[in-house]
């Protein structure tokens, strides 16, 4: 391809991409998200600049990766910290502007003409046809009247009623201007089918009144329930009551202090953190969960270390035949996908139908309630996690043991040392230093081992008498997941605050780990 043509193509492509991105930024801006639009604009222009400018050549290789990490890893972490300082929850879901708009869109029955309506299909879309209602309803709404009656017949533009969000206010125009000939109206069952969508539509009639569907055959006028005052308060048009926005609580409140839904998002400073520390109903389970998280991660590391190291040492003993076979077999738990083996254990431990209880009953006549008793549930979690985790430690230890020179053991054999002496005097001291950072990583991983808890017990059995549901086997991450996504409150702010606490703990662990890694391997790249 000639150079000039390639050059031209490049600029055309760049221009097209830039236009698409600009359009996207514009739609975001038009939706009232100025800050987000600005951020997108900055990101997009950085991207376009990198791929056009000569000076940014290196960044062409880096941009997708760095951008991906910034948007999907770094930004969520920072945003989580931010959410932790708000009251974001299902009760305070909207921004202040949207909550205000929601209230201003609330309507109450008003004065004016009532209209009978019929629904007409037009291709895949629909139109509503309105006729003023007579005082006596002898005409009937569904009857096909001749269009030439003195009272004007009104018609709306085409509406795609199957869409999730129709335009909330549509204009109804006199029939002549709509260039639409109403044929047979659709039967009542079609109206019933689209009842939900129709109920959300507001129609503006030519005399300026707004109407909503008040029955399956009629639209009646409504008027806004609230009017906005210059000082930001809202006045209820019917009762005259004044609503004042409470920017501390995130609600509009009446004079008597009653909160009006929907609430809106506001900053509450350290409110979520204060709750962790001061609210006794919350603090009890929180402290218990925190301690269990530490115990769980610590014991997991201890148990996997014991099993893994023992296996590594035994399987490194040359006197044993078929070592490769053994190694593959004991490695299997690591190779089976975690979500499958965890669910398998969930079934095997089941109190009534589980195979483990069947065997225990045959042998000892026991039938432990693995999922109902907190202590047994915790033991089960540790058993399962040891099963899942020891092969990793075994692989690590095998590598480290192989690196120990054989002469050391020959020397110890000459002085007549037994295998235990060998292990505690030679092997253990030599592998403990390089192993420590890996064990801390393992601790940090299990500290946040969400999948195990979520799939095995789901945190149950729950603590009794807590306002925010909390489980005795919950660890901090599964607890935050429940607060945010499972229980009715959906308290995103509180969950994000707990996540922030976990960030700090993980950051401390990583710092220690980084120090140790540098100390044990100063020449590491």
């Amino acid at each position: 391809m000639p150079r000039t043509l390639r050059h031209a193509l490049k600029w055309i492509a760049a221009g097209a991409v830039a236009l698409v991105l600009l359009y996207l930024v514009w739609t975001i801006y038009a939706a009232g998200q100025a800050l987000l639009a600005l951020a997108c604009l900055a990101g997009f222009s950085a991207g376009v600049y990198v791929y056009i400018a000569r000076g940014a050549y290196t960044w062409r290789y880096l941009f997708p990766g760095i951008a991906g990490m910034l948007v999907f890893v770094v930004f969520p972490l920072l945003y989580t910290v931010r959410i932790g300082f708000t009251n974001y929850s299902s009760r305070n879901l909207l921004s202040f502007e949207r909550a205000t708009r929601y209230l201003l869109e609330e309507t109450a029955p008003g004065e004016g003409k009532r209209y009978a309506f019929t629904l007409h299909a037009e291709g895949n879309e629909f139109r509503l046809v309105f006729r003023p209602e007579q005082d006596q309803e002898e005409e009937g709404a569904a009857g096909a009247e001749p269009a030439g009656k003195p009272a004007p017949v009104l018609v709306t533009p085409s509406l795609a009623l199957l869409e999730a969000s129709p335009p909330s206010v549509v204009e109804a125009l006199p029939l002549g201007q709509g260039s639409f000939e109403p044929k047979d109206p659709l039967p009542m069952k079609e109206i019933i089918r689209h009842r939900d969508v129709l109920g959300r539509i507001k129609v503006r009639f030519p005399d300026g009144t707004l109407g909503t569907m008040t029955g399956l055959r009629e639209f009646a006028p409504v008027q806004p329930l609230f009017a906005k005052n210059p000082d930001g308060t809202l006045t209820n048009q019917k009762t005259g009551e004044v609503l004042t926005p409470d920017r501390e609580a995130g609600f509009y409140v009446t004079r008597s202090g009653e909160q009006v839904r929907p609430g809106f998002k506001v900053d509450i400073g350290f409110g979520n953190y204060m709750r962790m520390v001061t609210d006794p109903e919350f603090r009890g389970p929180f402290v218990a969960i925190f301690l269990w998280t530490v115990v769980f991660a610590g014991l997991t590391v201890l148990f996997t270390l014991c099993v893994g190291t023992t296996l590594a040492v035994v399987l490194n003993w040359e006197a044993i035949r078929f070592r490769t076979v053994y190694r593959t077999l004991v490695f299997l738990p690591y190779a089976v996908p975690g979500f499958i083996s965890i669910l398998v254990f969930r079934g095997l431990f089941n109190q009534s139908f589980g195979e483990i209880n069947t065997i225990l009953e045959h042998l000892f006549g026991l039938k432990p309630a693995w999922f109902a008793d907190p202590f047994l549930a915790k033991s089960m979690i540790l058993i399962v996690n040891t099963w899942l985790g020891y092969p990793y430690i075994m692989v690590l230890c095998t590598g480290l043991i192989k690196a120990i020179p054989a002469e050391v053991y020959e020397a110890s054999a000459i002085v007549g040392a037994g295998p235990l002496t060998n292990f505690f005097k030679i092997t253990a001291p030599l592998i403990v230093k390089p192993l420590t950072p890996l064990l801390i990583s393992s601790f940090a991983f299990n500290f946040n081992n969400f999948v195990l808890i979520a799939l095995l017990t789901g945190g149950r059995p729950d603590f009794l008498n807590t306002r925010v549901p909390a489980g005795t086997t919950d660890i901090l991450v599964s607890y935050t997941y429940r607060i945010a996504f499972q229980d009715s409150g959906q308290q995103f702010g509180l969950a994000a605050a707990i996540s922030t606490v976990i960030f700090v703990l993980v950051a401390i662990l990583s710092t220690i780990n980084l120090r140790l890694t540098k100390a044990s391997a100063p020449d590491a790249r």
Binding site: I66, I83, L332, S341, L343
Partner: protein, 296 residues
Amino acid sequence: MAIVTGTGHRWRVVAAHAALLAFCALILFPLFMIVSISLRPGNFATGDIIPTDVSLEHWKLALGIPYQAADGSLVEPPFPVLRWLWNSAKIAGLSALSIVVISTTAAYAFARMQFRFKSPILTSMLLLQMFPPVLALVAIFAIFEGIGTYVPALGVETHAGVILAYTGGIALHIWTIRGYFQTIPVEIEECAKVDGASHFQAFRYVLLPMAVPILMVVFVLAFIGGIIEYPIASILLRQVDQLTLAVGSRYFLYEQKYLWGDFAAAAVLSGVPITVVFLLSQRWMISGLTAGGVKG
């Protein structure tokens, strides 16, 4: 090694074998059990470890074939297992592909180019790896809800959104590929450049062909990572048809609707291929990481 063997040596070997065999039996018990459960009739029956009457009903349901029960009624498959498997493979495959592409180019820049903030970026990438995405689920959910408002194809309840979310987790892969690139002498590319190759040509036609083993390893790791990922998929996907296997499997074991046998068949069906891929990839890992550009 130990040349001197004591009198207890032989007994110790026998004892070690016995202990190892017992340990293997204990460890592999759940895996044997699940195969046996998938073959015995009914969802509640408890039987022997080796089932006496073999029934393929659970396997039929797992493969999406309706099954004629003993009383004559037709049992429909409870969940679209094959669909879930396909969803998982699709999401994991596409995300692994984009992860390989993105992290290879980035690793090239980190291994061969000089730019500002290079080592701080590298260190912070390693630190970021310590914060799993499960800690930022609320924010991730909010982000994808935001994206979905403007670009519905990438929002919540879409596979593209999940793939996009997985594509962010590339820090460790960049480190792995960068380490491999550094084992390949830079002189080979410099020769190509002397012969007139551009930066990109040296990367595409000289370095990449030598790095195929590590790219395979990263692809498999990212693929398995995508298959077994649970938290992000569980908040972004809710409709039954859209679920990945990791999210869908748990629906088998609700207290109210306990489908133990059906679950066992689905678990074996989906677990075996993933396990085999993982075991094979372990082999590759070792050969891939040790094979470099310089032989001998």
